[in-house]
Symmetry: C2
Subunit: 421 residues, 2 copies
């Protein structure tokens, strides 16, 4: 088995911006500061971002999961150190990984809130250069590069997509719902320069759950389990919003990835949108050019899952060609360091043939994200077994770092989300 994960997370190291910015912006670059209470924060544009990694709890016992580790001492080195990251990937049998950003938020919302947009653009470009050249570039063939876009300026987004494509980066993060970020919605033509650039360059647009800076809160006194259960709701909304918008029909080459979205809800979603189309298009005026909405989804949306037996059982309803796999390292949903065992258990439970396993574990990801690890090393050295054989010395035992006061109610989380957004 060969594993390529299309959703993991980098925790940015303190030195990220060193030597990457023109002199006039050096003083305004985000900087990591250790506070008197021992927490590490990024300071930027008059703000303090108290989380260094969203729930970066890989390698810790579940009793110590809370919402946020608050210092680099509390997280595994693989979160932020590229050499240790690759070792952790080896120990988990993962050959390839695409990593989302942490402190700038999932699609760079932080930079969009900056007062000085020229500085913000320079900083965002420096971030992207670090991501491609250092994070992904240190170990060629191990990472799928992923750009952040300057979401306050669609033309600048288009320019950055083209600049990054020239550097070999063919994936870009964007918001699952820009209207929640006080930007135009998917139904506006404001984003057309961006969609056009992605379409031209063969760059896949990745919408990650949480990239609207909105949490699904049922009630102020709801326990945190409710909020965690409902995280996928945002991506279902994004899928519906995008599918009925003009975007996919206007840019017929464009592909979109629903990152950390899961797959088990999709067959139900297909039936619903096809029913709505068949039943209502006569008065709503929707037109998919002779196709059903589900067919358009299958052709244009890329999906992924961590551990989703119900979804795998219905993989042919979902569309086998759309399904990729993810590890979500180092978040609390991650199956690290036992990802191969988790995913094989699910494959075995529903009887997935080898050829389909290959499609789901790496071939679909290689095609949709234009990534070819086999160009860098022979396939037989990319397997779970081969990678793990070279990483037997990696310590994967759980490490306690002590327990902190934790947020356990939705209201606490609203506070966290507000600080973050």
């Amino acid at each position: 088995m060969v594993l390529v994960s299309v959703d993991d997370h980098a925790v940015e190291p303190p030195h990220l911006f060193e030597g990457r910015l023109p002199e006039r912006y050096r003083d305004v670059a985000p900087r990591l500061v250790r506070k008197d209470d021992g927490t590490d924060v990024w300071q930027y544009d008059g703000r303090e971002i108290p989380n260094i990694g969203l729930n970066a709890v890989a390698g810790r016992p579940p009793e110590e999961y809370g919402m946020e580790p608050t210092s680099f001492d509390e997280i595994r080195d693989g979160c932020f150190d590229i050499h240790q990251r690759v070792r952790d990937m080896d120990a988990n049998g993962v050959i390839g990984s695409m990593c989302f950003s942490s402190f700038p938020n999932l699609c760079g919302q932080l930079f969009a809130r900056s007062k000085d947009k020229d500085a913000a653009l320079a900083i965002l470009k420096a971030y992207n250069d670090w991501h491609v050249d250092e994070w992904c570039g240190t170990y060629p063939g191990r990472f799928i590069p992923l750009a952040l876009p300057p979401i306050w300026d669609p033309q600048a987004m288009a320019d950055e997509v083209r600049r990054m494509a020239a550097k070999g980066c063919h994936a870009v993060s964007f918001s699952e719902n820009p209207s929640k970020l006080k930007q135009p919605s998917f139904h506006s033509d404001a984003w057309d320069p961006f969609w056009a650039a992605c379409s031209d360059e063969g760059t896949i647009v990745c919408l990650h759950i949480g990239s609207s800076s909105q949490l699904v809160i049922t009630a102020d006194d709801a326990p945190i389990d409710v909020l965690i259960s409902l995280q996928p709701v945002n991506i279902v909304q994004a899928a519906a919003d995008l599918l009925w918008s003009p975007v996919l029909r206007k840019f017929p080459e464009l592909k979109v990835s629903l990152s950390e979205g899961g797959i088990g809800w999709i067959p139900y979603f297909y039936e619903r949108v096809d029913w709505i189309y068949t039943r209502h298009h006569a008065w709503t005026g929707q037109d998919f050019g002779g196709k059903l909405p589900s067919e358009v989804f299958k052709e244009r949306m890329v999906t992924c899952f961590i551990d989703d037996t119900a979804g795998l059982e219905q993989r042919h309803r979902v569309g086998l060609d759309t399904i990729c796999w993810e590890s979500d390292y180092p978040h609390s949903d991650s199956t690290w360091p036992e990802s191969p065992e988790f995913v094989m258990r699910a494959f075995d439970a529903v009887g997935v043939p080898d050829e389909e396993i290959d499609a789901i574990t790496h071939r679909n990801a290689m095609r949709h994200f234009r990534f070819d690890p086999f160009a860098h090393r022979p396939r037989e050295q990319c397997t779970v077994g081969a990678l793990r054989a070279g990483a037997t010395d990696v310590d994967i035992s759980l490490k306690s770092v002590g327990k902190r006061p934790q947020a356990t109610g939705a209201t606490d989380l609203v506070g966290i989300a507000t600080r973050r957004s």
Copy 2:
């Protein structure tokens, strides 16, 4: 095949309150008024409720679906006339039906907004009496009675649940999210008298999509198709909210129905909540007494679907004992007058054996809702074939009543929802 539908809708006839209220409340009772522009509205407590039926479009061509028919002349008599309703049920092969309210909203939100709560309680009781005695009582063995609760007073709710149970009514509507109605959430103990009464009386609590008076709006300029696609999102939220709340654990006999909620999303939901429980309970403190959340769901939640092949394929994952069927007459999602054909096509597509078809089409509904049509007529006279044989003269052809200006954007709908809530 025998069909019992656990989710249909009554459009209230103008005479509803006649002779049912003490004299001092007769002047304040809701009254139906035909306006100069030909629309019919309910006037109550200084408000006008402009819709007589939420999307009551059965029997009209899809080109004429809009959001709201506005007069009784535009809707099928079966919407509001009990004799014609039974004829429409016969023509569709449906022996039993549970009907939600229309103008008072799905769980009586309208009455909760009244200034004079004594009057509101009297009016609500009159409504319930009409529903049980006239709507359901005219044709014994054809309807599952469903009470509205006075949601502004948990003790009065408990009293009404007991009063209605004494009249043979063992189902009550409630809000999928009372906190969105500015009431305490499921996590509060404020509702305990209500839950206790339902538990004692064997009364099932029905949470219908939309009963939080909230629509899922992705963006102001999103087309209406997005909103329609996302209607089930509210019920997914309700399921998570209730499952992690103390309610089901505090009242171990209580059963809850997720009305018009669909079933295809449930296997995915189970995997998610079980994963969250297994992974996070050590720090969130959740405890299901040795069970998994999905097991508690299967024992205590009742589900239903209109047309959901993906869900039927995974019926054993959903829990065969939980699944009921619904027709949703006269709303636009209804499969009337071809419900038997729709549901058999789905059964055939995934190969459901006869015994399981019986459970899904009527046996589960009979057990969960304490309804026994066979006590009123022999089973062989309750089948689709027998009912249709007696209704060959019912005109089921589509009837055009002309096209009105229609709401087609989310903003229009927000307006409608606001007027309604």
